[in-house]
Each structure stands twice: as C-alpha cells, then as structure tokens.
Symmetry: D4
Subunit: 252 residues, 8 copies
C-alpha cells in the first residue's frame, strides 16, 4: 500500500464513499504490508537480480530439485550450495538443466547469464589445495551473482614469493576473498599488500590445535592488517555474497 | 622512491649528471624500497589520502605526541585511537593543534579536511548506549578517512520498530557498520533489511555468558543474514577502515 | 506414616501396649517414609495428569516398548522422545497402539486425550526448516501434556516482516517457545515483541562457529530482551515441559 | 497513535475538519508509530503496569538520577539495577524520594505500590550467602513488578534436610527462582521436588573450575529435572522479569 | 534430637510424665530434625570431632569473628580459610584466642588439640614455592582436623632426584596430597611411585597457557597414574578434608 | 644390587680381589638398578595382590589375549577394561578361562578369588541407567581388586527420596563412588549426606551443553560438599582403583 | 636480476643504448624476481637435500602417486605422511618403488640414502603404546631427512625407573622428541633430565578431559622444565622436521 | 659426589684407610646423590656454564636479592626474570653489582662474561613494539646464556617488505626466535623463508579475540611452515633457553 493508495482512501472517506470503519480496517494492516513489501527476500532478489540460494545441507535431493524448479518457474536463477556428489547427480537426473559442479558442491539452474556487477573482479585466493572446496563455493557463488572472478591458488605465507607474484592481480580486483585454514595468516599478508577490501574465510582444514577452524578464525579476527573482515568457518558462500554486495553497490 | 623518482634518476644517468655507481647505490635498496612503496603504511596513505593511524594502547602520551608530530611534519593527518582521557589531555597540552575526543577516545591532528570518498555515507548503527565508545571510534575513524558518516543509535532487536524506522537511512548508505554486544543479533536484523555490505563489530559489553564479547562474536559469525562480515571484538577502528576501503574503491 | 498414626503409637506407649523399644523402632524410619510419599515422581504424575516420559536415547526398541507397556498398564499416557525411525517402527510393531511420529521422533501411547491445561496455547516458533525436528519434539510434547499448540514456522530475524506478521498469534499465546540455531537472535526479537514468557531452545543447527549450538545458546542467554529463559541445546522436550508447568499453574 | 486516534482522524476527515494532506501527514509515520505502540518498552510498561528498568552498569549517578526523574515525571515507577553503594548515595542525594537498597544494589522511585500480580508468590531460593546480592536483585525486582516474594535462604544440596523443610513454601508459590553458584545443583533438586516453573540463575560465586559461573550455568542447563529454564549468569533481574511475565499472564 | 532423647521422651510418655500432645509436638519436627542430625555440618562435626569450617572469602573480619565466637561457644574448634592478612589481624584483635597463620591464610580458634585420626600421616607434597599458600591451607586444615601432617616441598618432575629421595616418606603416609600448578605432572609422578591414595590439587600458579590452573587441572584428571583423584583448582581445604575422611574411616 | 652386595664388593676391594676400576664400573649403574627394584609396576602388584590391568582401547583382541595369557603365566589376575563385545568374544575364544562381561566391557582372567580388602564395601552409586556401563566398569574393577561392592542405582537429585532411602547403605560403606552425567549434582547430594570419602566420576552421558561430560566434570569439581574428589570423565576404572587404594590402606 | 645486471643496464642507459622507458620497464619487476629466486621451497629443498614432503590427508592414492612420481623425476626423495593402509597399498601398486610403512603411515620413494646430518641421533621417546603411530611418523621422517634415530618406548612418568634407565641414551642424542598423550608430563620429566633441546608432541590419545590432545598440549606448553618447545597435536612430522633443522645446522 | 670422589673412596678402602662400614655409609646415599649430580639445576649449570635463573614473579625484592647473592657467592652468574621496575630498583639498592634492565624486566649479576656458545647468533624477531618486553626478556636471557644476539624489530606480515629485508640476517643465525601477538602469523612467514630452527613465542598482546595470547598460540601451533616449535605465551625466557640448548650442542 503506497502513499497514493492511502491518499485515495482518505479522499474516499472525505467524500463519504468509504465508511470510517472500512477505512480503519484497510489501514489496520498497513504497517506490516508496508514492511513486507520492503523486506521480503524474493523482492530483494528481483530488485538486484541476485538468484535465490538454497543451503543444501540437511535437504534431500528431491527437496532441492523441487525448490530449484519453483525458483526457475519464477524466472530466477537458482543456486544450491553444499550439495554432495550423490545428491547432485540425483538433482541433475530430476532437472537436466541443472549444472552440478563437484569441486564447489554447487548446483545451478541459470537460464541466462547474470547481469555483470562490479568495478573489477572478485579475487579468490587460496592457501592450500585442501581449501579448494570452500574456495570454489565462493568462486561459483560470486560468478552466479554476476561478478567476474579470478582465482589465485596455493599461495601461503610460508612461500611469500608465490604470494607477491600475484600483487598485480590483487591490485586490479575490487574485492579479495582470502581462504585459508591452519593459522589463517594469509589474510594478514594479503591485507598488508593491498588497499582493497579483504574478506577472510577460515576453513576447517587442519588437525589438532586447528580445532575445526578455530585457530584460523581467531587468527583472521586478530589480523594485524587493517581492513580485513571475517565470515564463518568454511563459509565460502557468505564471503562471495558479501563481496557481491560490495561490487553491486560499486557498480551503481 | 616512486616511479617518477626512478625515471628522474635514470635520466640523470643518461645525461651523465649521475654516475652509474651513484645510481647503483640509490637503486640498491630498490627491491625493498619498491615493495615498501607498495605496502608500507605511510606510502599507501599518500596514495589514497588515508591518514597514519596510531594504536594508543601501551604507548605513553609523550610517545603518542612524538609520533603525531612526526606524521604531521610529513604533511599527513595523524589519528590515534584508544587514547584515554588522561593521555588525551597530555597530548593536547604538548600539541595544541590536536583535537581530542573523549567519546571515541581518539586524538586527531588534521590540517585540512580529508578528501571525501565513497558513493554514500558509512552508517554506524549501535544497539545500546554502552556500545557508544566503540561506535564513536568507528565513526571518527571513518570521518578522518574521508567518509560521510551517519549515526543511528539505540536500535536493538528487542525493539524492532526503532530499527525499522531507520531503513531509509540504511538504504542510502554505502556501507553499514553494526555495533552490538550481548547476543549481537542486530547484525542479522540489519543484514536482513538491506542490500548493502554490513560490517559487524561485536563489543565486550555484557556480563556472564557474554564472556567478554564472545557471545556477540559467535552470533555475528553465524548470522542467518547473508553478506555480514565481522571484525574483532571492540574493533571500531577496523570496521571503519574496512568500510573506507569499500568506499575508496567505490568512489574511483 | 501420618500424624494420626504417630498419635496412636504414642497412646499405645502411654497405655503400656507398646514397649519403648518397639516405638523407637517404628519411629526410626519415619523421616524417609514421609519424604518418599511426598516426592516420588510417579506420584507427581498422578497428581497433575502428566504422562511418564522416556528418553529414547541409548535405549533399545525392546526396552522402550517394555517401559511404555508398563506405564500404559498403570493407566497413564506414555511419551518416548528421541526415538529414531528404525526404533519407532520396532516399537509400533511390538505395541500397535503406539503412534510414532518421525518428524518429532516421538512415540506416544495415549488411551484418552490429555486434560486440557493453560489459559492460552503454547506457541512454538521456528527460525529455519532445519530446526523443525526440535520444534516438533516441543510441539508434540506440549500436546501430549495437554496444551493447545500453535506452530509458527520459518520466521528469522533476517526477514523481520515474516516475524511481525505473527504478532497477533504471539499475543494470544500463554507461553512462546522459540527454537533457533545459528546466532539464535530470534529469541531476542520475539521477546521484544511480546509481554509473554519466552522459552528459548538453541539448536545444534549450523556449522563452523556455531560449535554445535554454542553460539545460539550464548546468544539466547545474553539476549537483550528481558524475560527470555533458556533450556539446553536441542531440548525441545524440556522447553515444552517448562511451558506446560506454566500453563498448568495458570489454569488452576 | 492508538486505533481510537486513527478513528478520530478519519472522522475528522469525513467531517471535513481535517484536510487529506494533513491526514496523510499524520498517517505517514503510522507504520512505525503503530509498531512503536506495540513494542516500545514504556508503552508495554503502561499496559501492564511494569516499571521502567535502568541497568546501572556503565552509567554515572547523575545519568541514573536524570533517567529516574524523567520516568517519574511520566507517572511511572523507576527501577535501577546494578547501582553500587557510592552511586546509590549520590542518586539519593539528588533524588531524595529514591529508596536505595545496598543488598540488592537497586534504586527505586515508586510513588504508589505496584499492582499485585500472580496467583501465588515468587519464591527466591538461595544456595549460599554469597549468592545473596543476586537473590536480592531478583527479589526486589519481583516486588517492584508487583509480585509477592518469599525468600528461602541457605539451602544447598549438600544439606538436603534444610531444603526439604521448605517444600510447603515451594508448593504454594507460582514460580520458583533458584539462585546458586558453584555446581548449581540446587536447581535440579528443587526442580525434582515441585510441579512449578523453576527459573535458575547461575552465579559467578566460586573459584577455580567455576570459571566465573560457567560450571553453574552448564549444570543448570543440563539439569536432570524437567522444567528448569535458565537465565544468564548473575542475572537476578532477568529471572524476576521472566517470573513476573508468568505471574502477569496467570493473573489475567 | 538424638535417639537417646527420643527414647527418654517415649519413656516419659509411658510413665505419664509427658502427655501425648506434648510428645507429638516434640516429634512433629522429627523427620527433618532427624535428617538434620544426620547431615547438618555441626552435628556431623560433633560426631567425628571435625571442627566447623568458615570460608573467609566474601566475609568481613567482623563476620568471621562473630561466627568463630559462636562456634567456640558450642565447645567446638573453629577454622576459617581464605582469610587475608588484614582480616586476620582484625579477627585476632577481636578474638585474641584466635591463631592467625599468614602462610596458609587460616584463622583457628581451638581450645584443645583435635582427636588424632588416621593410620599414618597426611603427606602434603608441593612442586614449587608459589604453590605454598595452597599447600599450607591443606596442611593446616589437615592438622586442625586431627591428622599428623608431613610436608614435602619443592619437588617437581623436572628434578626427579629430589622427588625420589622422599619415597620413604610417601610410603609411611596414609594419604598423599599433591599440590602443583603449571602442567601438574607431579601428581602422575607421585602416583606412579606409591600404593597410596593420591589427592591432586591443581593450583592457579603459572601464566599463559596455564589459563588460571586449567592446564594443571586437565593434566591431573588425565594422569597416567592410576588412583589419582582431583579437587578444584587451589582447593587445599577440600583436599585436606577428603584426606581426613579417608583417615577418619581408616582409624575406626 | 642390595646393600649386602655393595658390602661384598667393598670387601673384595679392601682385600685386593677387585680392582678399583672394576668396582667403579659396578657401582656406576647402581642408582638406576636400585630405583628399578623399588618402583616397577609389577613389583607393586606383587606386593599388594592387585591384578595387572590392560586398557583395551586401541588394542586388538589378539593383543589383549596375549597380554592376559602372559600375566596369567606369572600367577597374577589379569583385568582388561574397555573391551567391546566383539573383542570380548574373540578373547574368550582364544582364552576360554577369561570371563567377559558386556555390561562393564571388562574381561577377567582370575584363577583364585582376590584377597578381600577394606573395612567396608565400596558403594557404587548411579544417577541414571545411561551411566551403568561406567558404573559397572567401576564395580567389576573394585571386585577384582578385592573389595566388597554394593550397587545403588537410579538415584538422581531430581528424586531425592530415592537417594535418602539409601543412607544406611552409604553409612556402612568405606568409600562411595558416585557416577553421574548431565549436571553431576549427585556427587554433592551424596557428599552432603555422609562422612565418607566420595569419589565422583563424571560421565559423557547427556547432550548439548553437557559437552561430552564437561558440565558434570565442572559440577563435581565445584561441588559444595566437602570431601568430594573427582576422576576423569567416564573413568570408572580410575575411581575403583582409587577406592581400592583407600580400602587397601584401611585394611592393613 | 643481480647487481651486475643492474649495473649493466645503467651503463647502457648512460651510453644511450637503452632508453629510460626500457630501463624503467626492466626495473619494474625487479623486486619480485629477486625474491622468487631466494625463497621458493623447492630451492630450499635442493640446497639442503631434504626431500619433498606430501601431506596425505585429503588426497587420493592416485594424487599421492602422481606427486611422488613427479618429485622422483626431479631426482629428489619423496615422503608422504598420513597415508592410510588402503591408500598405501594403492600407491605401492602404482609405484612399486615406493616403500609403505603402516606403523608410521608413511610412503617413501627414495633412490639413494639421505645425506647423514647432525652431531648425534634424534631420540624419539614415547609414553605409551597408543602414541606409537605419531612416534613412528616422527622417526621415519627424521630418518628420511638424514638423521640417525633411536627409539625409546613405553616410558611414562608413572614409572620413573623405566625413564631413568634411558638417561645415557638421552645424553648422547642431539635432539629429543618426546611424544605423549594424556597429561603429557613426560616432556617435563625428560626436559629436567637432560641439557638437550626437547621437542614435545602432544597426542590425541586419551579420553574425557584429554579433549583430543588439549590436556597434553597445555601441559607441555606450561612445562616446568626449561627448554621444552612444542608442536601441534599429533604432529610427529613437524617435530622431526624441527629436529632435523637443528641437526642440519649443527652438522655444518 | 663425582666419580673422582668415588674412586678416591674406593682407593682409601683398598689401602685400608677407610673401613668398609664407613665406605658403605658414604655410598648409602649414592643413588640419589648421583642422580642429583646429573639433574639438579646448579650442577647442570656448572657443567655448561649456564647461570642460575630466578623467576621473579611472586618473590619480593629482598628474596630476589638474597638468592642472587647466594648464587654469586658460588661463583655463578645470576639472572632474575620478570622483575618489575620497583623491585629492580630495590635489588640494585641491596646489591649494587646487579644490572637491572627495565626493557626486559631482568636483573643480572655477572662477574665475568659468559662463555660464548653456538655456531651463529640467536636472532630475536619482533612483530610489533608491544611485543618488545617479551623480546627483550628473550634477548637478554640468550646473551647471559652465552649467545650472540641480533635483534630484528617491527617486522609484521602486514608489511612483508620489512620482513624480507632481513633475510640475510636470518640466514646467518643459528636459531630464530619469533615473537608475535595478535594472529602470530610472523612465525609462519619467517619459517617459510629460512632453513633454521624457528622458536615461536606467542604474546598476550592484543584484545578481543586474542583471548590473552590464545589466537597467537593456536596460530603458531598450526603454522603452515614446517619446523616451527612453540613455547608458552609470553615465555621469552623459555624460548631463549631452548635456543641456547640448540646452540650449546651445536658448539660442542
């Protein structure tokens, strides 16, 4: 209910065409209707062209396929994350248009390429090969959300030269997503090299005192490099989504 | 040593004004000087107009004043954070040009206003009055770094109406910094309302199971709203710096 | 041994019909006999009509069936929680009168409907679909204990409009059970909307810094909304039991 | 703006006494004003007669006195918690009508007794003398909110007889608030004795493996007695507020 | 009311010297009085000659003196632990018969020596000089409770020869209390040397990863030596009390 | 090398039958030979008749059988703990004299009954049925080590009457082993009832905030009942061994 | 690009043979080229003869075999750690020259014996048999890296004599690697016996309060013996690598 | 009693100058005396020239001065760590020969320079200025123990160029001690640059998620650079001692 409608209602009241009781009844739900318009997720999606995202964890392949089909029927791109290989195959069997990517554990149903956003690519930097599933979740999410993505792999602080070689790539990116387990020091090293927003993703890679990603998480939160922000352990999707919001606003 | 200086040196070599030995000597430190160019804070500061920042914790007023004077002598703005009231007074006594702000515990020595950056203001949102010192650290930092700043105060998830009233402000901001202690739920609520980068700052406000900010930190990291990133507990400066990097790149 | 019996004993002593030694012996166990009468669980059950509850975890289907049969033979309703699908089928095979509900993982043997309690329904609110097993455990428990139950699903703080729409339902409930994983912010949001007792159940849903429900637990304990109380992680049964005690006393 | 005011506005529009533009202007803030009506604390307070509560921590005596005076000027009772003795004296000096209670660290400005709520008293049970400050915070809060309060002190599980003696008191209470540090076992023992809602408050009393109340908190959360709910460590106010919501609804 | 008193009462009833009503009145509180007999600390104290113990933490010197005087007036020994030097002096000033010992932070009011218990001494073993306050709390407590005490000091696992030299002392003791901070390895080393009950007391001595005694606590709980039991961090009193119960039963 | 041997060596030196170099060489290893004699585990076993104990975890059935056979060949009783059902069957198949007990997960090879120790039975008290495997490990271990054992089952603090009924049993025991998960409050309740050494075993029974036994462990360590000592989570064997050391020394 | 090359470049500039722009372009990448040469891992390997090491965790047998073959083709020794038995067999099937060792879970492809390093052996000391896999990972790694290795097994602090017997072995070693789970006290005991570098490896062996190696880790970090350093839980490889670096430098 | 003395004793026996009984008596304490020889700190000190070290924490200035005087009287160097400025002044007042260094909080009484050890300097690397007290504790300790020490300051991973500049210094060192708080990433960066033993010291510098040094500790333990070992938080002394043991053995 927009202001114009309220004005019309008031004028009908003034003209005696609508009773006070009827008007009161119409206005009663105004606050929530107004809010609903503003905040519901699929509306936001419509506005900025972002696809609907489904967290695959704890859902059956049949449930995932059903939701993807429904999103597709509304003309939107559907992205499902955390879909294991077995579920992925079942989803593709049910919905052949779905593209399943085992490296990122994502399933995508996209009829047309996303609207390109951002003033530069999202750079996804990985410390070790074990971090790749999380990195690919971030990269594929960022791509589906409309970003150009560049991948920089296998650069850890224990081999600084490999990291330094990629500085030009960092410099031309608009956002840098750093993905690392163990001590997570890569976020500090990258953050110190560039004047770009750095989003750090701790991974659960490691053993012993890694405590399932806690060491990397704490390391990234206490990074000595200014400007590093952090998302949840293994949350490649969240980092890519945050990077996309940055790029979305930069491209307006 | 910036590229222009190297070019000048090479031209002086070409013109015979500088001997090869002298040039070699000047260039000897080039690898690191060049790197330094790229990464050292004050050089980066020169490039993007960001001031030098001093972490006041563990420094005496005399040390803070000395460093600020030195930065000032290089023509840069100096910002010191975590300066308590007593130190602040001493710094001002030593350097009358310094402006000390007790609410944010910052001391600033700024000769000319910073270059305005960003496509919109940084919005600093606070859940409770106890979070204000951290919020002001963020706000003053963001201002000194060149951002327009809007402050939204005293909006917690236990009073949703107060939060919702500020949606237009959120929508016109380029980055939103959410500062909250206790359970830190405000980050999720704000993150769900807007399509903007949200940087969450857990504060150590609270008692008991707050565990010095841990509950807010974990709550923000596991936020159900996509696109929320998190910095260290009480790190208002870090959030503002990250927001400024986003704005800096958006304004280019 | 009630006061009348003690008086009779003393009078028999006075009349010389009972020796001092015999009387002393009778009195020796008085404290514990008296206590036993007062506190034994099945007596409490008889008094308020609450069924006997069996925690299924760590029990075989045969054990569960045996206990349910025994409770049933005393004329009481039997409720078993945390019964997985396989055990549920085996219990039903052994006791066909048992109703097994896979969504809540409960098995119920109830000959007649429970006595209705409370001045209003227990409202079970869920943040996400992954929280449903815990929510259903709460809802079924509350129903078996005699409460009217209303379910409000899929309302998270990242979509405030969905939550606000249910305020009338909250207002007519006598107790609200809020079930949420991740950051558990829903408890604060609901607690801020209503003047009702809110019982929060953190769930182990989530990953990374959720630490098996710890983030939701801490978030709920440090809720900025007054009047929120918390039970153990995933303890849908406990929340429903506490809600039922509130309703039981309200209905007297 | 309550429904009656909107009706009056509409009728003034119908009668031509108010222009559509004026009405539109008044209604413009309706969504949030309406929400505000529903959720803002002082409105809720008006509805149920609950006083405004001020958390004294981090506020100066002057600030506390100012807020209390303002609340008082609206005809409401003002309760400030966590006010230390020095601040309390200063508040009383500034506002002689304030009653400061050092045992509970509360300051109260109450012109008329609260409306009595509940079907029975709130029983505040304490394990040890060191828990008394938290217990008194709970007791005074409950009294100011309109509950009858009975205090049961110094009953720990290591002396069961002292606990059992108070069973009749427990049985006639409508809610029992159990306050204990160390291992917090009292909540389980009380919860097993009664069919009443039990709200457990872990305290930070103890040393070593108490870890600032963590042991009591975990013990209460994992209580083997059904129906026990828990609030934050040392949160006597929160427990009393939750108990009052139970009593408020029971008394309607 | 002890069995003898009940017998006397019954005999007075039999002789007609006491009416049934009077007897009933006396017996009315029997259940709890009897329980009290069994469990209340000062009764238990009477039975086994153990003194009353006062935890000084959180009590004023005046309170401590008052309680000690009252205990003394019942003919019992009074022991107060965790009494700092200032309070100790004040207690002695108020009650000159009290002996205050700064090393153990104990205050004792003992008119006659305790009844000697046990088949051998309690051996209190200390790893480092910083552990001495806890060790002395244990030693003085054990002495006041009637044990012979031998002290073995400054034997850590980093100097095994010093430890081994005391094996004969360990062998003639009935219980060994091992007090150590840091990694707490001494408990394992002593436990491996002897066939005696070993009670380990972790202390909060240490820094960094000692985490206030946590490392010693965990080390003692996971000791590779069978037969080691553990009490709370810094709980010298508790270890001595447990040792005394062992000795008390051994001496019967 | 005993003193007699050293005397003989010295006399041979004096008589010139042994050179100083030879004597020096013989004496060189004296310290360790002496120590070895004194401390090796199997010697301690021989002295006090305790069997050899094998921790089954991480050992194959074949390894367990081999070690048991070897111990048996030295005329000692062999006890293996933490032997699962499958391994147990395999051990019995290999060594038919072994008695495997699935409830306690122990395997015993005992040719003659153990020498009875202690001045009274070891009482093994259990809170819930899920604690029984740990309780049986304790009970069987105590029996094999020579103690009389009484079992008290299913007494939790949520049903105090059931606990109080067993006070006479507690009073005639020499040591009480209390086994409980969840909040572990049973240790405090039992510790408050008796003047006996109480050894508490936290179990990993529970979920959520039990954190694998941590809540019970902390609760037992911070018990408000004096004289309670604690062993590692689920360490029924350790508690029984400690109880046996107490009984062993009491029986001398 | 070495200084000579830069001089040449400058001279060509001086002689006009190279334009300033060309020189500037050549100098632009100088820093990173220089760095790359200096720090790349395989260069370090070449310099000191250490083999390439592959962490087997998370890699398929095929991937491991491929990498080992590639390393072998460069004439270097390949060591893979954390290779389970199944993968090991598959690697050997693919590369018959590989030696797989199930005890240490290592696969080695070594054409010629490593260059012997160090002034003495690396001594690998183990507390219990369950620690052997970690110990063997350390021992095999140390051997492949060129150290002489001596193994000392089954020496725990609960049996000091067994430990003391090995002092001569410790004294002739150049580095001692101590591997222990549970309370990890062995590191302190060994550290106190010798004047040698001691590297402690906590293992995840244990249960309950071992918390997956945390108790051993904390115990080793807070060791009362000076000179003990610690690596990650179960990190036998890391300890051996550190020991090898010590030996490598000692042997130069 | 050293071997020479035993030989002398035996020869006196052989010559008949000492009776067998007298010799036996002298030898009676040999096992432990011999052990003492081997392990007691001051004996070890004598052998390798290391000074006695006193941990100042928890000792009065008078105690420190007394111990230093005693050590000095035996001709040894005395080093006291963790001596605050006030105590330091008092120690110097009492013992003017003592040199107190406020930066490292050490007091040293050294009559002659230590014997130089090692094949190269110990390099002490610091991330930030706040880490200097720990770094200086390490540096002064290493110097007093006989090492050459080089200090590299203010090199953090956020400014890689500053770090890389010091590679030649790292390469000529025999051991590198890396001291860093916050995320502790410096240890990984240095470890990746060199083929030297790296000992990492986490410091308690930082706030929030640093958790008193925990983040740096975990980061260093999980370092991706092989060969890094770790000591306790803030344990500069321990790192220097371990480095000295490495150098001591390398210099033999």
């Amino acid at each position: 209910m927009d202001p114009g409608e309220v004005r019309g209602l008031l004028e009908r009241v003034r003209r005696g065409e609508t009773s006070v009781d009827e008007a009161l009844s119409s206005l009663r739900d105004l606050p929530f209707a107004e809010l609903e318009e503003a905040t519901v997720d699929h509306h936001r999606a419509l506005r900025n062209g972002f696809p609907e995202v489904i967290l695959g964890t704890g859902k059956t392949a049949a449930q995932i396929a059903t939701i993807m089909r429904e999103i597709d029927s509304h003309g939107q791109t559907a992205l499902a994350t955390r879909v294991d290989a077995e579920s992925g195959a079942a989803v593709v069997a049910a919905l052949p248009e779905v593209r399943y990517d085992p490296a990122s554990r994502t399933a995508v149903l996209m009829r047309k390429p996303p609207k390109r956003i951002g003033s530069g690519p999202v750079c996804v930097v990985t410390a070790g090969t074990s971090d790749l599933p999380v990195a690919e979740e971030a990269a594929v999410t960022a791509e589906v959300l409309g970003n150009e993505v560049v991948r920089v792999r296998d650069v850890g602080v224990a081999g600084l030269h490999r990291l330094l070689r990629h500085r030009p790539t960092f410099d031309r990116s608009s956002v840098i997503v750093v993905i690392a387990g163990m001590e997570g020091a890569l976020a500090s090293a990258v953050g110190g090299l560039v004047s770009k927003p750095v989003i750090a993703v701790p991974t659960s890679v490691g053993y012993g005192a890694s405590f399932g990603g806690l060491s990397a998480l704490l390391g990234m939160l206490t990074s000595c490099a200014s400007g590093v922000t952090v998302v949840n352990i293994d949350n490649g999707f969240g980092a890519a989504y945050a990077a996309s919001l940055i790029n979305l606003n930069a491209s307006r």
